[in-house]
């Protein structure tokens, strides 16, 4: 009789987690929802300002440089590389989480390290792009780019939003890399082996994928549209 009852477990009647997850993972999910609203607000603010503006710079013209290529016209090639690197770091993160499920410490170390390297590469790319834009006179409050229709830009909104939102995203990637490094240290110390599960890897994995997903939106909004 007891078996019959436990077979139909009442998830919501207390005494256990209704989603069968730890509170930590639950919190991470709610935090991500909250953070999605932060980015959502910034991107919607950007959208409204942009569509209220009469003209806007052409991203193919603004983002056409590539390191060490001089003045070669390579529109959006560099940012595509950045995006590729970040998405690949998500793939390695998936593999790290998966290895964690099998308690395969060596593989976790390998894939997590690659994720960290991917994150650092992305940040370095972003640093180069920012420095390059700064050199040609773009910064908060200073917009050297003419509008796509050839008129001079009267507003600095394009660069203002670009630096604020990619900067805010970069801050998230930075904190993701820091979290990944902390977790990697714990993996190396055997903390999770001792604990019996690699859920922390999963939790930072959730954060990492979220940051990647946000980049897809940032990328679309600033480089493609």
């Amino acid at each position: 009789m007891d078996n019959a009852v436990t077979a139909k477990k009442k998830w919501w009647s207390g005494g256990s987690s209704p989603f069968n997850v730890s509170y930590g993972k639950l919190m991470m999910w709610y935090f991500l929802i909250s953070d999605a609203f932060t980015f959502g607000a910034l991107l919607i603010a950007y959208g409204t300002q942009r569509f209220m503006a009469e003209a806007w710079p052409d991203p193919n013209v603004v983002f056409h440089s590539f390191p060490f290529m001089g003045h070669a016209d390579m529109p959006l090639v560099f940012v595509s590389l950045m995006t590729f690197i970040l998405i690949m770091s998500s793939v390695t993160m998936v593999l790290a989480v998966n290895a964690g499920h099998y308690m395969d410490r060596k593989s976790v170390v390998k894939w997590l390290s690659l994720t960290i390297i991917g994150g650092i590469m992305f940040l370095s790319c972003q640093a180069w792009e920012w420095m390059h834009l700064h050199e040609i006179g773009a910064w908060w409050g200073s917009n050297p780019f003419p509008n796509a229709d050839g008129t001079a830009a009267i507003s600095t909104n394009f660069v203002d939003f670009f630096f604020t939102i990619t900067g805010f995203h970069g801050l998230h990637v930075t904190s993701g890399v820091v979290l990944n490094i902390i977790v990697l240290i714990n993996v190396l110390k055997g903390t999770y082996e001792h604990r019996g599960h690699y859920e922390m890897v999963e939790k930072v994995g959730l954060y990492w994928h979220f940051v990647d997903l946000v980049w897809v939106f940032v990328f679309t909004c600033f480089y493609l549209l």
């Binding site: 005494g15 987690s17 730890s22 932060t38 607000a41 300002q49 009267i154 507003s155």
Partner: protein
């Protein structure tokens, strides 16, 4: 091992450091007698009950400051021709010759709003009672993450320190109103209060958002994950539902405010033009082009409107519980109460533009916001009728807590009805930015939420400190506050309908409002009396912590909920033995000839259904 123990042993794994202090405490109900230093018990405490007290006492300090500011600016409004030399001795050059300067007036108004809305009625109310009651009423040893809970308080403390320090900078605190609209808030040259005080305000508020987020994530996770065996969602007391929806609102709306603040900080210091366009300041043309001040208003009110429900929902939950306990009747329409709180939570996100009817908002769009705003009247009315039906023919016990709860229902009705006026864009165009708005939101949100908070404090004080508060002082406190609140805010409706605008320092040169001179003086006079009465409450609170009548029974109000099954002074972990199992909802009062049946009592076979 029980389910509860399983859950907690997970926590122990996740939070090794927390476990060192005996948190989670899931080892099948042994009382943990761990060594606690003064620092770990009273300062960096991870016990949700202590954190609740920290929030409460910090909130009380802020409330005294915020209310005192209102006394100061009411002196100016009520007695514009008089001088008060003592003002100069406390405010210095801000009140030269005993009369508050215009700059000081705006700073006082701004800080009054900021302090009361965020530091008292958000952190002080939700922070106190969510922390105290969630683990106790759902049957958990502590919050899901006691460590994050502690951080939540200390971020709030840091935000408080920064906000407090802004009061003492040379150019004074922020003075652009609690909403901090640009361009006034974005341009340091625009006014004296837009200088460093504004920066401190923004930084403090950003830290406040972090505190709120850490707290809210904890509240949601605790309610979902840590309920004791048998405590299904529909067996939870309505208090918990109130805190639950409050936390959801906070998690979803505060981040948008943070985004707005980030953009504002860049406008202030980065030379950007997010909110700025075509401006002249002090005769100079500014280079900023292409921004929109209205954008800030959208971002602000996307938080700002849910914020009023963040303030009122915990009070609603507590009042529901206190009214049921003190009328010895089950709450009327439990599911309707939950459903209406849910409806309010959803609608909260869909009505923000009703604060912006006069910004040039497209009237077509305004019509939708009118409709959605007026829809809120439906769940609000459901709640009001359910409260009234709950006390209808109840065996009412008039304690200070139950009186304040009834007072809450009263002010919620009289303040809520004027909301139907203001929600209409056509009427709002006339009433916008007048004293009518002041009257409306102070009664429906300020006074009501305070009444909910007072009710909660009187009701759960015995749980917090193991002593009662003095009843007589409580009754005096209630009656003067209730009558005083109506005397203060009711006349403002008339002033507002006559067109008297808010946020003005001096009306004396404005002949059309001279007829209100006597009324303004009267309001200010009552403000002083009501403020003095709140000091009586503060005295009662602190006196009772040390000298109040001691509890002799763990369940002083004969209530059904779990917090009263703990010892009079529960240790960290709340229950010395196993966490009790729950068998019934929280409102079995006057059932089958029994006065009350606690939630922990199993349902007997011959019991009537509910």
């Amino acid at each position: 091992m029980s389910n509860e123990a399983t859950l907690h042993s997970q926590d122990l794994h996740h939070h090794g450091h927390a476990a060192d202090h005996g948190h989670g405490n899931g080892h099948d109900g042994h009382d943990h007698h761990h060594e606690e230093t003064f620092i770990s018990k009273y300062v960096f405490s991870m016990d949700h009950k202590m954190i609740a007290k920290q929030f409460l006492i910090t909130g009380i300090i802020w409330a005294i400051i915020g209310a005192f500011f209102s006394v100061l600016f009411r002196l100016q409004l009520g007695y514009p021709d008089s001088t008060f030399p003592w003002l100069e001795s406390i405010l210095g050059h801000w009140a030269e010759g005993g009369r508050i300067t215009a700059e000081a007036y705006y700073a006082l108004v701004t800080m009054h709003g900021t302090i009361l809305v965020f530091f008292v009625l958000t952190a002080g109310l939700s922070g106190t009672f969510s922390n105290l009651l969630i683990p106790l009423q759902v049957g958990a040893r502590d919050m899901a993450s006691p460590f994050m809970n502690m951080l939540s308080y200390w971020f709030f403390f840091l935000a408080s320190v920064i906000m407090m320090s802004s009061l003492f900078v040379q150019t004074g605190p922020a003075s652009g109103g609690w909403t901090s609209y640009p361009p006034l808030s974005a341009l340091g040259d625009a006014s004296i209060g837009s200088k460093i005080g504004m920066d401190l305000w923004l930084v403090s508020m950003a830290i406040f958002v972090v505190s709120s987020l850490l707290g809210s994530l904890n509240y949601i996770s605790t309610i979902l994950n840590m309920r004791t065996k048998g405590m299904s969602m529909t067996k939870m007391p309505l208090t918990i539902w109130g805190f639950f929806f409050t936390a959801i609102l906070g998690v979803l709306s505060f981040p948008v405010l943070l985004s707005g603040f980030v953009l504002l900080l860049f406008d202030r210091h980065g030379g950007t033009s997010f909110y700025l366009s075509e401006l002249f300041v002090a005769g100079k043309v500014l280079p900023n082009e292409g921004g929109s001040a209205i954008l800030y208003q959208h971002l602000f009110w996307f938080l700002g409107h849910p914020e009023v429900y963040i303030i009122i929902l915990p009070a609603m939950g507590m009042v529901s519980e206190i009214l049921a306990v003190n009328s010895r009747k089950p709450i009327f329409g439990y599911l309707a109460m939950v459903g209406s709180m849910f409806a309010i939570t959803i609608l909260a996100f869909l009505v923000w533009a009703h604060h912006m009817f006069v910004t040039g908002l497209n009237p077509f769009l305004g019509a939708f916001f009118v409709l959605l705003t007026l829809l809120i009247a439906v769940p609000s009315a459901i709640k009001v009728f359910n409260w009234i039906t709950t006390i209808w023919r109840g065996n009412i016990r008039f304690t200070p807590a139950s009186l304040f709860s009834i007072g809450f229902v009263s002010t919620f009705i009289s303040g809520g009805l004027t909301g139907i006026w203001l929600g209409n864009s056509a009427i709002d165009i006339h009433l916008h930015d007048t004293y009518f708005v002041i009257a409306h939101f102070h009664i429906v949100m300020g006074v009501s939420a305070f009444f909910g908070m007072f009710a909660g404090i009187y009701h759960w004080f015995p749980k917090m400190y193991g002593r009662y508060m003095n009843q007589t002082l409580g009754f005096i406190h209630f009656w003067i506050t209730l009558v005083g609140a109506y005397l203060i805010f009711w006349p403002m409706h008339y002033e507002g309908m006559a067109g008297m605008p808010r946020r003005y320092f001096d009306y004396s040169n404005w002949a059309s409002f001279n007829s209100f001179n006597g009324l303004n003086m009267f309001i200010s006079f009552v403000v002083i009396i009501v403020f003095a009465t709140q000091l009586l409450f503060v005295f009662n609170f602190f006196y009772s912590i040390f000298k109040g009548r001691k509890l002799t029974t763990p369940n002083p109000w004969n209530a059904t909920t779990l917090e009263w099954t703990t010892p009079i002074n529960p240790g960290h972990g709340n229950w010395p033995g196993e966490i009790p199992e729950v068998h019934r909802w929280a409102y079995d009062y006057s059932k089958d000839g029994k006065d009350f049946i606690p939630q922990t009592v199993p349902v007997s076979p011959d019991e009537s259904g509910h």
